[in-house]
């Protein structure tokens, strides 16, 4: 297929990191590992945004990169609240194992 676009490599890496994050979030027992998987998925999405910004038709408008920067800021807030929740649940239930967290009532 001749000279492939450089975008293909970045998109495949992003897809692979997203799938690894998804696998981690779906298969691990520990709540912190699930959050790690979610962070990997968010990062893969950011890589897509920046790759499309770089090889898109109008990189000078900065749209894709701004989207990625805002996404990084929102992901930081998400990580802080998520880990705060894990610590709070641990204090209450003495575990971070998701398979033992099967009660809504404390």
């Amino acid at each position: 297929m001749g000279m492939a676009s450089p975008l293909v490599g970045y998109l495949l890496v992003a897809a692979l990191v997203f799938a690894i994050g998804l696998a981690g979030a779906l298969t691990r027992r520990n709540a912190i590992l699930v959050l790690i998987g979610i962070e990997l998925m968010l990062n893969a999405a950011n890589l897509n945004l920046i790759a499309f910004w770089r090889y898109g038709p109008h990189p000078e408008t900065l749209t894709g990169m701004m989207f990625a920067i805002f996404s990084i800021a929102v992901a930081a807030a998400e990580a802080a609240v998520g880990l705060g929740l894990v610590i709070s649940i641990y204090r209450h239930a003495k575990t971070t194992d998701l398979e033992q967290m099967n009660r809504m009532k404390g």
């Binding site: 990191v17 690894i20 990997l40 990189p59 800021a73």
Partner: protein, 166 residues
Amino acid sequence: MGFAFYIVSALTIGGALAAVLLKNLVHCALALTLAFLGLALLFLQLDAQFAGFAQILVYIGAVAILVVFAILLTRGSELPKEGVFSKTWPAGLAIAAAVFAVLGWAVLRVAPWLPQEMATPSVTVHQIGVELMGRYVLPLEIVAVLLTAALLGAVIVAMHEKEGAR
């Protein structure tokens, strides 16, 4: 697509794989830092210097440290007796593999129509600042409110419960 791309991609994917596969959670957090570093290097390769350094500062400087704190505060470094993977892990793995297959198929299918190498966009931090204060001022303010709310929320959620309050 140079040699550097393959090295950085291998670093990123290796770090990500180690982060979800290793048994000891502290090792997972270190591998996660490696994956974040690889992604920051990929951003730098894509000429997004500001996003790359923001990635290093926010993810390696803050999120990875938060993860390590959470692991140590919850004694996550002790290995559980029942194993680290949930009972339904084959289903999770199958879903992730299916998602990757669909994404990879879509990317490879449109590969011939994707744009070729183009001129490096020159973006200065000055430009980014002007855009943040101009076109993107509303999202910037919303992110500021969100970060304040998230900070307060995280502190309140993680604060010690008073003994009598239960």
